[in-house]
């Protein structure tokens, strides 16, 4: 499973789930999220998220 993880606080983005509470529909690809988007928890820039692969 792949998630994009915020290096500022650990928040993660899953393309399948999206972030409906923040206006991002389920299924939205990471590259389709605007570059000026920031972590909803801590404000870290999108460019400071890291792709993590977890074994489950």
């Amino acid at each position: 499973m792949k998630k994009y993880m915020c290096l500022g606080c650990g928040f993660s983005y899953d393309e399948k789930l999206g972030l409906p509470d923040h206006g991002i529909a389920p299924g939205t690809k990471w590259e389709d999220i605007p570059d000026d988007w920031r972590c909803p928890d801590c404000g870290t820039k999108k460019s400071l998220f890291e792709l993590v692969t977890i074994p489950y």
């Binding site: 993880m5 290096l7 500022g8 650990g10 993660s12 400071l48």
Partner: protein
């Protein structure tokens, strides 16, 4: 020995950041900007020397094994610190060198208000979500802490908070595990990771054996001096090593105090 590698990070080569509770930008129409995450009166300042940190946040090295952050931070007195802020997943550790850390966090059913003194350390696994605030409420003493952030292998686990104490007087000249899954004397961690500390007299030799040569080691000199693999390290210098089955080192100053981190690479 083949397949070994190491890097040395001198004290002055680490990332440096000074964060003020109230920033005064330059320019004719400058208006003070109040930091939302830094607590304390307007002059409160937090100084951070980072061995590892995040990309452009600082110019430190971008992680080592599962370690994402290694920083040496000084909080000014009178309430300086981090306001309540959220985390997920990261396993955050703090080792108190000087002063008192007031740590308020949301772990467990009721949360925790903890006060940590020199030698005390905590491990806060933020898992499915946790918040915390870390403050120096002393009226006159600065707080000096080493922070480590670790990436867990499993995301969104149950948050937990554990704390313990290292006393250099009762365990001198011995590499003491502080965080480890190998002994019940140390605090456990949900990662292939270990932290040890050594408070040593001058002129003593030691051998450190990682779990395997696939485990990296990071030696950070809190105080004193040592020679390791023909390299001399002094206060706040550090060395990251990888591919070694064991490492010999020699302490070259009285009251040498070192932290040894071991991580699967």
């Amino acid at each position: 020995m083949s397949g070994t590698s190491f890097f040395i990070l001198r004290s002055h080569e680490r990332g440096y950041d000074k964060i003020m509770s109230q920033m005064l930008p330059s320019g004719a129409h400058a208006v003070p900007v109040h930091s939302t995450y830094l607590a304390g009166h307007p002059d409160a300042s937090l100084i951070r020397h980072s061995s590892f940190n995040f990309h452009e946040y600082q110019n430190g090295i971008d992680g080592f094994g599962k370690i994402k952050v290694f920083g040496d931070e000084i909080f000014s007195p009178n309430g300086c610190g981090y306001n309540m802020h959220p985390h997920h997943n990261f396993i955050i550790m703090a080792f108190i060198l000087q002063g008192t850390l007031t740590h308020i966090n949301t772990a467990g059913k009721e949360g925790v208000v903890d006060m940590l003194k020199p030698g005390d350390y905590y491990i806060f696994s933020t898992g499915a979500g946790g918040k915390h605030s870390e403050l120096n409420i002393s009226p006159d003493e600065s707080l000096h802490v080493i922070y480590v952030w670790l990436m867990p292998d499993k995301l969104y686990g149950t948050p937990s908070y554990l704390r313990s104490h290292f006393d250099p007087k009762t365990q001198p000249n011995k590499i003491v595990p502080l965080i480890s899954n190998e002994t019940s004397d140390a605090l456990p961690v949900e990662q292939d990771f270990k932290v040890s500390r050594l408070a040593s007299d001058n002129n003593k030799s030691y051998v450190y054996k990682p779990a395997s040569k696939f485990h990296g080691m990071y030696f950070f000199v809190i105080e004193g001096a040592l020679e390791i693999e023909k390299n001399n390290l002094e206060k706040r210098d550090s060395i990251g090593m990888h591919g070694f089955e064991e490492v010999n080192f020699h302490v070259k100053a009285d009251k040498t105090d070192i932290l040894i981190l071991e991580t699967i690479m």
